[in-house]
Amino acid sequence: MTTIQKKPENPIAHLTPEDIEAIGVELDAIRQEIVDSRGEADAAYIRKVIDVQRKLELGSRAVLLASLFPPAWVVGTAGLSVAKVLENMEIGHNILHGQWDWMRDPKIHSTTWEWDMATPSEQWKHSHNELHHTYTNVIGKDNDLGYGIMRVDEDQTWHPFYLAQPVWNFINACFFEYGIAAYDLELGANIKRKRTKDPEFQKRVKGVLKKIRRQATKDYLVHPALSGPSFLPTLAANFTANVVRNLWSHSIIMCGHFPEGVETFEKRSIDGETRGEWYVRQMLGSANISGGKAMHVMSGNLSHQIEHHLFPDLPSNRYAEIAPKVRALFEKYDLNYHTAPFPQQVASAWHKVVRLSLPNGWLAQTTPRNAPQQLAKLYKMTTGGPKVRRAIAARDRQMAARAA
């Protein structure tokens, strides 16, 4: 991947400024249609999902009180995992986007909602709603690309440190909620810039620790204690459900912006960006997951990531309805509507993680026949200094140019 501006064939080169503004007008009209028709059925939908989620969680936790009995453990853990996924994805994420604020129900409102997650909603809303959704896929601005710990673009200089990137990514996936909490705190940057003594930062750290303490007390102390002799199996069930939820949400989020073919943008390119241009960036910077109703609900309708990024505050249950109209617009303006089944998108995103963990071009050039030479080259690049790496990269470029 390389930013759209540096690509030899810019996928939006064929669009005139008038086209881009016309796209904006058409998308505004799609949005307005939904805003005008929001009503009782939508309100009933979110209340139903919340009702089902709470009953499922209660029921699963009740079953787990007898988790010493293996079938109870399996059923309870599965139920609790699904409940936690629903709570984070279709309920929490979307309420915190303000998708349901129009109902004026103080119980279901972006300003009052707190979710079953290590990071407090208030901090997450800043880093997600404000930074990620405004600066989507702008290298250097949108830290959701690799969460600041991964190499996400060919233009980032390769370093041997990145060889471990697939491992990091997997560990981050297992403990994703804590990764997000650290990310919302900008922990890395704040440590690097020695700002950890800043009172504002400390206040936020305190908030996160308080939230983590409460979450952990519930899952790893209160619920196991209530289970009596089933203390340990219940603790394991909670741990498992949290890991399942983390792996799932990490996968869904990777599918949204990381599969091969999703565009990224240069920082300079968004100076003075118009609403139309913002829309086009959202269109090309997101990818959908095709699938059935269950896929949509369990992903919090982030299976409609493109629609979600165009209209982050429309009720999630309506994305499916506008998806065909959005897709028609992509076709009208000859743009790539990026959608594929879940396994394919996950594989594609992981492929990119692995590819970028290696020096530019290494994975593509490597065949079973030249594997020994390639491995030798990789060893040299890993053990040598920056000079060695630059020299090898320069030679690769020369050879590629000669071959072309």
Binding site: G98, E130, D313
Partner: protein, 380 residues
């Protein structure tokens, strides 16, 4: 949805927390980030200790465009005095709306309460209640309130009611003179009341509770003077002396539109007479173009034009505002509008908040894409 703060250390002098307090804290630890109530509400929303709600049990048509809604209130309903009103929050097209309605039945033996609603032109909530409300629906309630109640000592009284302003008066009269199958009951406790009702309506068929008033008049419980605009012309308060010859001896209770109440106030003040009024429908907020935005907590006021987001206008005036994406997507700038009207600069849609919403925390608005459409009070 925030959980209650648990103090870490307790000074030695304070008594040990009671068992129930500890149980509550334990339950909160088990349900965080939600509250135990969020789960209990799934099964028993009308229980004691829940935030006050009620369930509509019956919708009884009164006239072509008015209906009485009978509600079973939650266990914590504290009762009411006839003449008081209740604030009701009901979801109309999925949007929570709050309105105040007079309670039209005195405290009843079955514990239920009722409001009588007339569908007013452009009245989203009143139309919904009269035409679409169904038994079984949950509504949100607040405890009964209002100073417009019968003086317990009785005496010579005059009620002046106009339109749906009759509803609190009906509440009082039904309590004084219960209607049973055999007719109107004359209870000893009501003997001291000598009541005249001047009831004003646009026309006879539009007149809600007219049958009740006539029945009370026929039974001799009250004297009814009905005035219809289409027959008698619009009531001039100076005629009151002719309609009620002993006006000077009576204490006047009036409920109706602002115009009538103001005229009565002038008239009674000039004549040196006692007057109690009730006006529960706050003045309609008419959206304009731009206006003065007051930030109620920090005391700043800002003149904002109709084309500038409130966020920008406030920041230009030096108010420190919460903000985010500044394009209407992140909801980082939401603040409660206590009273006033704002216009969405993207869609032209107007959002209003009246004093009714303001008691429940106002209507949250995104300041980055809304401009003032008239004077606004914002909590910040």
């Amino acid at each position: 949805m925030a959980t209650i703060e648990t103090p870490r250390a307790r000074p030695a002098s304070t008594p040990r927390p009671r068992l129930t307090d500890r149980l509550v804290r334990f339950a909160e630890a088990a349900t965080t980030p939600l509250l135990p109530a969020d789960y209990l509400d799934l099964f028993h929303p009308l229980r004691s200790g829940a935030s006050l709600r009620g369930r509509i049990e019956e919708v009884r048509p009164e006239t072509a465009d008015a209906a009485t809604i009978v509600i079973r209130p939650g266990a914590d309903w504290a009762g009411h005095v006839p003449g008081q009103y209740v604030r009701v929050g009901i979801d109309v097209d999925g949007v929570r709306q709050w309105r105040a309605y007079s309670l039209t039945h005195g405290p009843r033996a079955d514990g239920r309460i009722s409001i009588t609603v007339k569908a007013v032109p452009d009245g989203t909530v009143s139309h919904h209640l009269v035409r679409s409300a169904r038994a079984g629906t949950l509504v949100h309630l607040e405890q009964a309130a209002g100073e417009f109640v019968l003086p317990p000592e009785g005496g010579p009284l005059l009620f002046v009611t106009a339109g749906s302003g009759v509803t609190p008066v009906i509440g009082m009269l039904r309590n004084l003179f219960p209607v049973v199958d055999d007719g109107v009951l004359r209870l000893p406790r009501s003997a001291g009341h000598d009541i005249v009702v001047v009831h004003v309506a646009p026309s006879e068929p539009d007149s809600i509770f007219l049958d009740d008033l006539r029945a009370l008049d026929a039974a001799g419980a009250v004297r009814l003077v009905a005035r219809y605009d289409d027959v008698h012309g619009v009531l001039d308060v100076d005629e009151l002396g002719e309609l009620v010859p002993d006006l000077a001896q009576r204490r006047t209770f009036a409920c109706g539109p602002a115009g009538l109440l103001e005229a009565l106030e002038r008239h009674h003040e000039a004549a040196g007479l006692e007057l109690f009024t009730e006006q529960f429908r706050s003045a309609r907020v008419e959206p304009g173009d731009g206006g003065t935005v007051s930030f109620t907590l920090n005391g700043t006021t800002v003149e904002a034009d109709g084309g500038t987001p409130i966020l920008d206008a406030a920041e230009e005036a030096g108010v420190l505002m919460p903000s985010g994406c500044r394009m209407g997507i992140c909801y980082g700038c939401v603040l409660p509008l206590r009273e006033g009207a704002v216009r969405d600069l993207r869609t032209g849609e107007v959002t209003t908040a009246s004093s009714l919403e303001s008691d429940t925390g106002g209507v949250p608005i995104q300041t980055c894409i809304n401009a003032a459409a008239g004077a606004c009070d914002i909590d910040h």
